[in-house]
């Protein structure tokens, strides 16, 4: 019988477990990206295909879709582990809950936020966003989706035990997404206007580290409440 792994090794294993589980069902990983692509296709139909108008709206459109894709995937973050009892085992284990939660959120960010940021330039070009604004888009999405993952996980942890959590998590979490949307879309619009992008990215980075420092406490508390309920 082997001794319990150290905290960092444990986080590494948990992260690898999450990623392996996700990659075994590749369609589930692709779902947010497909959602992203589908909704991008809706906007030219709704707003009209005029390229300059689409370009003007593109920063907001792309950011709002990233927000919704993140929200929809956050809802599923703890669900299967809650249902099969492994979440309860995690709470009972001697490992610090803060770090375990961090592994969950990190996995969610890697599988949705980072992938979305990587694929976003393709859709940005389809919406006629000038190439000069692409670095700002990718950078702001990388940092911003990290904040979204933390905040979304707070909502997910509070609603995981509820049967109809779907609409509720949107009501709980979307108000907290708004600052990220403002600075994220602001970064891209700033890049379009030729303004420096670094201040926006700095604020998003600050929000990210703030969320990473405090978010896991709230997520852990939420998970304990959901398990007890």
């Amino acid at each position: 019988m082997s001794a319990a792994p150290g905290a960092l090794a444990f986080v590494g294993r948990l992260l690898r477990r999450q990623l392996t589980l996700a990659l075994r069902r590749p369609v589930a990983v692709l779902n947010p990206l497909l959602f992203f692509a589908m909704v991008v296709a809706l906007f030219p139909l709704g707003l009209g295909p005029a390229p300059d108008r689409l370009a003007a709206f593109a920063p907001g459109i792309l950011w709002i879709i990233a927000l919704l894709a993140n929200l929809l995937s956050a809802e599923m973050l703890f669900r299967s582990d809650f249902e099969d009892g492994s979440l309860e085992q995690l709470l009972l284990s001697p490992q610090p809950l803060y770090l375990s939660v961090l592994a969950y959120v990190l996995a969610h960010w890697l599988l949705t936020g980072v992938l979305l940021a990587a694929i976003a330039p393709l859709f940005a070009v389809m919406l006629n966003l000038p190439v000069a604004a692409l670095p700002a888009l990718v950078g702001s999405l990388l940092l911003g989706t990290g904040v979204l993952s933390f905040v979304g996980s707070i909502g997910a942890s509070l609603t995981v035990g509820l049967r109809r959590g779907g609409m509720l998590i949107a009501l709980l979490v979307l108000p907290f997404y708004m600052p990220v949307l403002i600075f994220g879309a602001g970064a891209v619009e700033g890049a379009l206007a030729g303004l420096p992008v670094a201040p926006y990215l700095a604020i998003l980075g600050a929000l990210f580290s703030f969320a990473a420092a405090l978010g896991p406490f709230a997520i852990g508390a939420g998970l304990r409440i959901s398990i007890d309920a």
Partner: protein, 246 residues
């Protein structure tokens, strides 16, 4: 001193003391509200630019001020109930949410009515208006989360966590929206430095704000009493209170 804290855990005592408080506070607050509103609406000079339409300030500003403060009351009660597991704090938190939501709604509606003659439009996506709207969503989120749980003890704790997350986020939301776009005038009343509002307008406004705090407290106490009764329906003292013999 300590017996007071112990008594707070007793629902019948809490119910009775809230009733006593209400009996004194309600007439005083209503009197203050009436005085403040009549003074503000009838006996102050019209504004030199906005004419008489500015008088809605005597409802708009107090409602907005107390709605914001109410969120912190709710979060503080939530923190107390999470940390010390005090029943009274849990009840207070649950009772604050609808009152706060109602005040936020009043602030939004009066602001909208004020905006029409002043800015020429019912609604603008201005920083302060947007953050009040977000505040309304936050209140509604807490109410919806509470209703979604079947286990009410867990519901209370979940709402406490949510409102605490909200306290951290409200300044961020507020500042971000502020940088985003602003049309709303900056605050006219300052604790430090010169207020930019004439004293003859200021005093009825301050009275109204105090009166709104009083009315808020009364609504809170009334809600708490109702909540205590709802939670204790099956106990002897509630049945005796309702007149039925046990």
């Amino acid at each position: 001193m300590w017996s007071f804290f112990h008594k707070l855990g007793s629902p019948p005592w809490l119910y009775r003391i809230a009733g006593v408080l209400l009996r004194w506070l309600l007439p005083v607050s209503l009197l203050a509200l009436g005085t403040g509103l009549i003074w503000g609406l009838l006996f102050t000079a019209p504004d030199f630019r906005q004419g008489n339409s500015y008088r809605i300030i005597y409802i708009h500003v107090p409602a907005a001020v107390v709605a914001l403060a109410g969120y912190y009351v709710m979060a503080l009660a939530g923190a107390v109930s999470l940390i010390w597991k005090m029943k009274v704090a849990d009840i207070a938190m649950k009772a604050t949410a609808p009152v706060g939501a109602a005040l936020t709604f009043i602030a939004l509606v009066t602001g909208s009515i004020w905006g029409k003659p002043t800015w020429g439009t019912w609604w603008v996506w201005d920083a302060r208006i947007t953050s009040m709207l977000i505040l309304l969503f936050l209140y509604l989120g807490v109410i919806a989360l509470y209703e979604a749980y079947d286990n009410k003890a867990a519901a209370g704790r979940a709402c406490a966590v949510l409102s605490l997350v909200g306290t951290v986020n409200i300044p961020i939301i507020y500042k971000s929206v502020d940088w985003w776009y602003s049309l709303h005038q900056p605050a006219s009343i300052k604790f430090t430095g010169e207020s930019t509002i004439d004293p003859t307008m200021l005093y009825p406004l301050l009275l109204s704000i105090i009166a709104f705090y009083g009315v808020f407290t009364c609504a809170l106490l009334g809600n708490m009493r109702a909540e205590i009764l709802a939670r204790e329906t099956r106990t002897g003292w509630v049945r005796r209170l309702a007149g039925g013999e046990v």
